[in-house]
């Protein structure tokens, strides 16, 4: 598509807007505790919200070849369930968008990858839930429905090509 570059720029630019709106959703769905906000919500019967489930899917397509199954790291990519214990969300976003190099290790800049950036809040929610120990390994057994807002946001971000 000839407009791919501008689409990518749009993706990066519109990220903050998506981030803000989904965090609002997360806050309203999940009673925020006094000291922290959780980007995921997990019901008493283990049902995770759509965003967290989708984060699981997208993580295992775009991230797991380096960071291992379930965020647990590989023989060369760091364990993200550890990283997110100390790494704030802003820094997570910064590294995903711009990449990072540490000697022989190299994290790519994913800021133009729609398969990552259109779902970055979902991926963060999933990894944070893993890091907090709120969900275990493997595919979440039960998950909530995809909202119309989420479907619309996905369509806008991914485009039609």
């Amino acid at each position: 598509m000839s407009c791919r570059r501008s689409t990518s720029a749009f993706v990066a630019a519109s990220l903050i807007a998506i981030a803000t709106s989904s965090m609002v959703i997360a806050q309203t769905e999940n009673k925020p505790s006094a000291d922290e906000e959780k980007p995921y919500s997990i019901a008493a019967d283990g049902t995770v919200d759509w965003s967290t489930f989708n984060g699981y899917r997208r993580y295992h397509a775009s991230c797991h070849v380096c960071h291992g199954p379930d965020g647990l790291g590989s023989s060369f990519g760091p364990n993200l369930t550890d990283s997110l214990k100390t790494m704030p969300q802003e820094q997570f976003m910064e590294v995903v968008v711009n990449g990072k190099q540490d000697r022989e290790k190299k994290m790519p800049a994913l800021g133009t990858d729609r398969n990552v950036m259109c779902y970055i809040n979902d991926i963060y929610a999933y990894l944070k839930a893993r890091s907090d120990g709120a969900i275990g390994r493997g595919r979440p057994a039960k998950y909530g429905k995809k909202s119309e807002e989420a479907a619309q946001a996905e369509a806008n971000c991914m485009g039609t090509d």
């Binding site: 791919r4 990518s8 699981y56 899917r57 997208r58 993580y59 295992h60 397509a61 775009s62 797991h64 070849v65 380096c66 291992g68 199954p69 379930d70 647990l72 790291g73 590989s74 023989s75 060369f76 364990n79 990449g99 190099q101 022989e104 290790k105 190299k106 994290m107 790519p108 994913l110 133009t112 990858d113 729609r114 398969n115 990552v116 259109c118 275990g136 390994r137 493997g138 595919r139 991914m158 485009g159 090509d161």
Partner: protein, 600 residues
């Protein structure tokens, strides 16, 4: 990157004809002579037929139990070490993953380093390498060592000094194209394949002139006939002409341009038929719903003329892939009897779990049977049509996007990946390192961005129901398609095998064991735990009249991704998670060569 180096097939053929010189033929004869000498190991698979067989018999069934470590060598690189060393005369050539260091070691002087070559490569290539920064080894020919770097550069080094003689860029890493495969020198040309099927890279094999590094021909996996080097009438698939532009006819629109079918496995060569053989990888993306059609010629065995690159025959094993069953595994050329008749065979153990036996002159399909009984995505392969008979329950296409298809065997890793098998003409058996892993697979929509992953599916892997072993090392009869014996292994066997005239077969394990087993029975005769998990290929040679066995350790590769943390998914549901301990509890990173010999 030059998209098309020859404007037409006939122009290609003409260029080849003009550059063919007697000296080139001589070089090939020289390499064939060297490959016949069991005292050396002059090409990645030991010989052009990719048998990984050695006529050496000093180490045999009786004395292999006395094997000892003769010497070791650290590569100084931590990531996954695939492939294995070459031995030419008194020199051993050892390679490493990124940064793709090459060492020439003097066997006369206890492996002293004669020269070391370390290319300067843009580290941006690292993250566009799916599945670790592996490299499957160097090739030798006409006094030169050929290295296919991660950044796709093919470089010719003076074998004596390590000095660069020429270098050529094969592809564009910024679009996700990388180099991992070992080159093969054939008739004055160096052949290499490309990597990057997870980035929408279009596969090709390129033949470079051994003296100048100039491309002689490029055979693409898909595209118009001028790209695929196919003749609509003369190129056949199961005996029938492929027809015009078969490399675009089964694709929707321009999808073939980002169609995958990369060629990162092994290449073999039959000097009598003058054909080179290799397989092509998965079509991009992993979401089958997004790319309708058979997606030819991904997942295909290619037989090409070594001089012109023209395709003689093709056979697509998994049309319209729905599981990432790349067809890149090695093609082993053996001459065996089928139904009382001597046949020139090509034997291939595919990721899809079927062991294929074909007539390598014509591409006729003779045998196609499961080499792991767990395989369930297809019931059988029809030998007439060549088509697998798919089971709807395991079809990710039939289930559709955003649906999790469960319990598919094998997993995307395949029943076997690139780790090459061996063939012993003495026993008539093939020795095959295999994976015994199943998966759930959920495809979903992806967008293509050049240089970014183009995957479109999520999957989780686990052992077949009721099983605790993730791998097997098997002996296979390719004339009947039957397993002769099978050794269960706790983890996938990700190491290339070696068969010897001494009646001993060698392979490595992910925990780091080098194992020697009886070629007739599979009985274990020897094991030694090397410094790290083995995903390298075992070889053998002699020096000073003494037989040695060598293997690279260095856990990583796809095995390092999937196994480092241990498998999960359904195993948790089965309450068996404790049975599949993480590989990281057995071994850690570190590239090292271990050389074995009998005591003096």
């Amino acid at each position: 990157m030059p998209r098309q180096l020859c404007v037409s097939v006939s122009a290609c053929a003409l260029a080849v004809a003009l550059t063919s010189q007697p000296a080139v033929v001589f070089a090939n004869d020289d390499l064939m002579k060297l490959a016949k000498d069991p005292n050396q190991w002059v090409m990645p698979a030991g010989d052009y037929a990719n048998t990984r067989y050695s006529a050496l018999e000093q180490i045999n069934k009786t004395n292999v139990k006395n094997l000892q470590v003769a010497w070791t060598f650290s590569t100084g690189v931590l990531r996954g070490h695939e492939g294995g060393p070459l031995v030419i005369g008194d020199m051993m050539y050892v390679h490493a993953p990124f940064p793709n260091t090459v060492f020439a070691l003097d066997l006369k002087n206890g492996g002293q380093i004669v020269w070391k070559y370390e290319p300067k490569q843009d580290p941006n290539v690292i993250p566009v390498m799916c599945c670790d920064t592996v490299n499957r080894g160097v090739a030798y020919g006409e006094g030169k060592i050929f290295l296919h770097q991660a950044d796709t550069t093919l470089v010719a080094l003076d074998a004596k000094t390590g000095k660069v003689e020429w270098s050529v860029k094969d592809g564009d890493p910024s679009a996700g194209e990388t180099g991992t495969s070992a080159p093969l020198v054939v008739k004055g040309k160096v052949l290499i394949g490309n990597s990057g099927g997870e980035f929408g890279v279009r596969g090709k094999v390129t033949a470079y002139d051994i003296k100048t590094g100039k491309p002689a021909w490029v055979g693409w996996s898909m595209g118009p006939d001028s790209d695929t080097l196919m003749d609509p009438q003369k190129t056949t698939a199961l005996g029938k002409p492929v027809g015009k532009d078969s490399g675009t006819a089964t694709w929707q629109g321009d999808q073939w341009k980002i169609g995958g079918g990369t060629t990162w496995g092994w290449i073999s060569y039959d000097p009598e038929l003058n054909l080179v053989y290799y397989g092509t990888g998965n079509p991009s993306t992993w979401n089958p719903v997004q790319r309708p059609g058979d997606n030819k010629w991904s997942m295909t065995i290619f037989a090409r003329d070594a001089d012109t690159g023209m395709a003689k025959w093709v056979y697509q094993m998994t049309p319209h892939d729905e599981w990432d069953y790349d067809g890149v595994n090695e093609m082993i050329l053996a001459n065996q009897k089928i139904g009382g008749q001597d046949r020139k065979l090509l034997v291939h153990f595919d990721r899809n779990g079927f062991g294929y036996t074909l007539d390598r002159a014509t591409g006729e399909l003779l045998v196609a049977e499961k080499f792991d009984p767990a395989v369930n995505w297809a019931t059988k392969v029809d030998l007439k049509t060549g088509l697998p008979e798919r089971v709807k329950k395991y079809s990710t296409e039939a289930s559709g996007q955003d649906v999790n298809t469960k319990g598919i065997c094998p997993a995307a890793l395949g029943s076997k990946d690139q780790q090459p098998a061996a063939f012993s003409p003495k026993t008539g058996l093939f020795y095959v390192p295999t994976n015994h892993v199943c998966m759930d697979y959920e495809p979903f929509k992806v967008a293509y961005t050049a240089g970014q992953p183009y995957v479109g599916a999520t999957l989780s892997m686990f052992p077949p129901e009721g099983k605790t072993n993730l791998g097997n090392f098997i002996a296979w009869d390719a004339t009947t398609g039957k397993i002769k014996w099978s050794i269960p292994e706790p983890f996938s066997v990700w190491s290339g095998a070696l068969a010897t005239a001494g009646g001993v077969v060698f392979y490595g394990t992910l925990e780091g064991y080098l194992k020697a087993v009886d070629a007739d029975t599979g009985k274990e005769l020897y094991r030694f735990k090397t410094p790290s998990g083995i995903i390298g290929n075992v070889n053998t040679f002699t020096h000073g009249g003494k037989q040695y066995v060598a293997v690279l350790s260095g856990i990583g590769g796809w095995a390092g991704i999937g196994m480092a943390a241990g498998l999960t998914g359904e195993t948790e549901g089965l309450g068996a998670v404790g049975a599949y301990k993480a590989l990281s509890q057995y071994t850690q990173l570190g590239g090292a060569l271990t050389v074995f010999a009998l005591p003096n």
